[in-house]
Symmetry: C2
Subunit: 369 residues, 2 copies
Amino acid sequence: MMMKTSFLQILMASTLSVGLCHAQIAEDFKPSSLNQPGQEYPMVNSQGYARFKILAPAADSVRVSLGLGGKGGTKLAKAEDGSWMGTTEGPMDEGFHYYNVKIDGGKFNDPGALNFYGSVRWESGIEIPAKDQDFYALKNVPHGNVQQVLFPSPSTGTSRRAFVYTPPGYEKGKDKYPVLYLQHGWGEDETAWMNQGRANLIMDNLIAEGKIKPFIIVNTYGMTNEVKFGKIREFKIEPFQTVLINELIPYVDANFRTMANKDNRAMAGLSMGGMETKTITLNNPDVFAYYGLLSGGLYAPADIKDKSKVKLIFLSCGSKERPDGVKKATEELKAAGFNAVSYVSEGTAHEFQTWRRSLYQLAPLLFKK
Amino acid sequence: MMMKTSFLQILMASTLSVGLCHAQIAEDFKPSSLNQPGQEYPMVNSQGYARFKILAPAADSVRVSLGLGGKGGTKLAKAEDGSWMGTTEGPMDEGFHYYNVKIDGGKFNDPGALNFYGSVRWESGIEIPAKDQDFYALKNVPHGNVQQVLFPSPSTGTSRRAFVYTPPGYEKGKDKYPVLYLQHGWGEDETAWMNQGRANLIMDNLIAEGKIKPFIIVNTYGMTNEVKFGKIREFKIEPFQTVLINELIPYVDANFRTMANKDNRAMAGLSMGGMETKTITLNNPDVFAYYGLLSGGLYAPADIKDKSKVKLIFLSCGSKERPDGVKKATEELKAAGFNAVSYVSEGTAHEFQTWRRSLYQLAPLLFKK
């Protein structure tokens, strides 16, 4: 769309923009909290800019995938010491981001950063400090444990892995606990919710503040067939449903002190994990009573045959996703008599900050009735 | 040094060498078992050769750090499809190896391989199938859990992480168990024994075969101050000793069903972890009764003040390390009346295959008296 502008206007705008740009970047960069031990870069500043430094003196081109949307990431330039450096063109959204580094046409990771499984590969991770980061911080409170469990899966002919969060005091106590089955998104795996999502710290903090009834969280891998990038439509839910319903849940109920009934069992998931949650909860109305879709689809009142079996429907997404859809679906569910709650994460997109916040909102609503 | 050689001799030698080379490498390469999901490379063949393929079409030089000793790794060559490929010049030792990829002067990881913490960075890992790999294989047997524990450490002012292996049946049982405190080497961390070492699978398999009395294993980070590469002499044991003896052990005894006494407590470690084990066991004769040094120092009879307190001394290393020292020290301990056992891992060096095998040998000797 063309607009009438005078030369002066253009000049002013461009001066302003350059001026702002330089004035804007606060030189208070600190190492990202997700760096490998002793690594200075990548760094982040108080405004959310990220700065990268990659050593590859003989490379011809180095580009980091993280940057403002639609600009193909951040191109690094050769610095005086032979390394490649660059700063994002603008502030990044608060929270966790995956990224990788293109070097001379190949995709690698930033040697300074820790790795997190996403996009069907171990990617580099960076943390942009968030105003509300306190709720997922590691604090001096009693900590629950995260257990790696290898459970037998006859249907897939192997031992499969799950992570089980048990609340503080579980090991020495005798109480039984409700269970939330919580699924990752496409391209991620069962490590995502504890690593990127910090689900264990969110729970520890909520429990320490007396804001929730303690419960167990179980994460497992939500795919049983190998699905390549872009081929998500080939994904079939049935094999995973068998693993979850017929194998994992009985294993957890047999090996942990759970309250093994529908009213003490929840399922939630992010993105693809939300799609899985929707299908599996609707297929198994006597297994779960609490449903959560985090940036992952919606329920309509007509989807649910027996309203009395559902204790809660939680729908959420980031404000940069489609919050209107989430709000509208929630209103429709409420109007139809469901206990439905929506949550919109301000200023975030289809990323883990949205889902950390969603879990923080969802947890106090679970197992209340 | 010049030698008299005829032209024919040179020709024969070079023909022979080329011929041998091609005849020798069996073209039965398969993806390494430690590859990222869906990744074909790196590959290994039945003889222990490793083959790499790295995509970086515009790079000038790509070199993999893994290769025959003293040759600086394996230089890759540009393949027809624009990727960089290469095969090690000879077979690698059996078991796990760390490696990284030098691209145009920078150090990165192989995007095809999983990462493991070693050399104070997350390195790429590759697994050369071993004749005895069955003892650390994931089998259809009952599996113990590996718990991530965050324990309070007033002396270092933070929550510190430990991994706790609990034997199959622990969750629902009532038995109390002995505990082995098992330390990693320099540049590694508390993830090493379960990830690279497969300690949990070694235990699961030994327990399933009835070869050991089940026990708990605890791994924590063996350094409390940041020590940079090459500065290991600056390392001080006291702060770690405080964490282990005054903080971790009381936490484990308070939160797990342990037999909380000297005769049911062992300490062992690999490399630097062996050095730590030696110092800490000698400083704390009433805390541990079983001592294990895996490629990490030796005890002399004169080191130990009260022989009656020590139930076992286990010393091990790879045959490519200094097995004579291990054997001699063991003989001297035996002659002095100690229950001392040595083990030498055939055909391995200062690497994790030596330590997997050492744990397999050590475990049945623990907590027997």
